[in-house]
């Protein structure tokens, strides 16, 4: 008999049955499927451009590139550079608006 007959069952089937999707994942899926995630992203993008946040981040990047030389910079560098400052400098009004919309969605998604 061939060895292949006795091989163990392929893993993915077992894995799928073993795990429950987390609340996080369920919500994420609902967000994406309803198109709300896309809308929220666009809204946030627009607000951040309007308040100059994006320009600030781009200026940071440009300064970094100038310092390091443009051939020595990776996307990772820039992400790590911007993330802390970016998160801290979102205007409160923008954050509040987005949070409100997300909460509304969560409630309407009946959770």
């Amino acid at each position: 008999m061939k060895h292949s007959v006795n091989r163990p069952p392929t893993p993915d089937a077992a894995e799928d049955q073993g795990k429950e999707p987390t609340l996080q994942e369920i919500i994420n899926i609902k967000l994406i499927e309803s198109g709300e995630k896309e809308r929220l992203m666009e809204l946030l993008r627009e607000r951040l451009i309007d308040c100059g946040w994006k320009d600030e981040m781009k200026a940071l990047c440009r300064a970094h590139v100038k310092k390091k030389g443009r051939n020595n910079v990776t996307v990772d560098d820039l992400v790590h550079l911007i993330t802390p400052k970016g998160r801290a400098s979102v205007p409160d009004s923008v954050k509040a608006e987005l949070l409100q919309r997300i909460r509304t969605f969560l409630m309407s998604a009946a959770l």
């Binding site: 946030l44 440009r62 590139v65 443009r70 051939n71 820039l78 992400v79 998160r87």
Partner: protein, 179 residues
């Protein structure tokens, strides 16, 4: 609204907001990275180039071996061009109509328009009365024919020798000057 659900909601919302923000941050970083790599940021390019060139120029100036070797006759300018010491473009003199080289234009105008003795004689040739005036310092009554034929020349001639002579004459009348 009831307690635990509310807290959960708030936490979830914050988490979702954080996710959205992270995605946008990655987008911005990626965009800046692209601009940097493709050299689309003109300012960056120009600054790098300027710095390189200024360092180069500084090195050249500081280099002592350079100054003695420079041929002063054929100095090269910043565009790499050499110029002859006398300008060679040819213009037409607006006074006499001759073709004059640019580098010889000023001396030519001097002679042609009246700094020199010969030029003034040339100009006043048409009226002997004015010629008399020149040689004798005669009164201003002889001035009017003089001004008619040569007023434009007179106006544009800024050399002090001519003007001084005229103005020093106390009875100098200037009807033509007001036009």
């Amino acid at each position: 609204m009831s307690g635990p659900n509310e807290d959960n909601n708030t936490q979830l919302s914050s988490h979702i907001f954080g996710d959205l923000l992270d995605s946008i941050i990655v987008d911005v970083a990626s965009e800046c990275h692209r601009i940097a790599k493709l050299g689309l940021d003109r300012n960056l390019e120009e600054e790098e180039e300027e710095m390189r060139l200024s360092a180069q120029a500084r090195a050249r100036v500081a280099d002592p071996s350079n100054s003695s070797e420079t041929n002063t006759k054929y100095v090269v300018d910043i565009f790499g061009q050499t110029h002859p010491s006398v300008a060679t473009e040819i213009f037409e003199c607006m006074n006499c109509g001759r073709s004059i080289a640019a580098g010889r234009f000023a001396p030519h105008l001097e002679k042609c328009m009246g700094k020199g003795r010969k030029a003034r004689l040339k100009v006043t040739r048409s009226s002997t009365a004015a010629q008399n005036r020149y040689s004798r310092g005669s009164p201003v009554s002889t001035y009017s024919p003089y001004s008619n034929s040569t007023s434009t020349n007179r106006l544009s001639n800024g050399t002090p020798s001519v003007a001084g002579e005229e103005y020093s004459n106390g009875t100098y009348e200037e009807p033509w000057n007001k036009t």
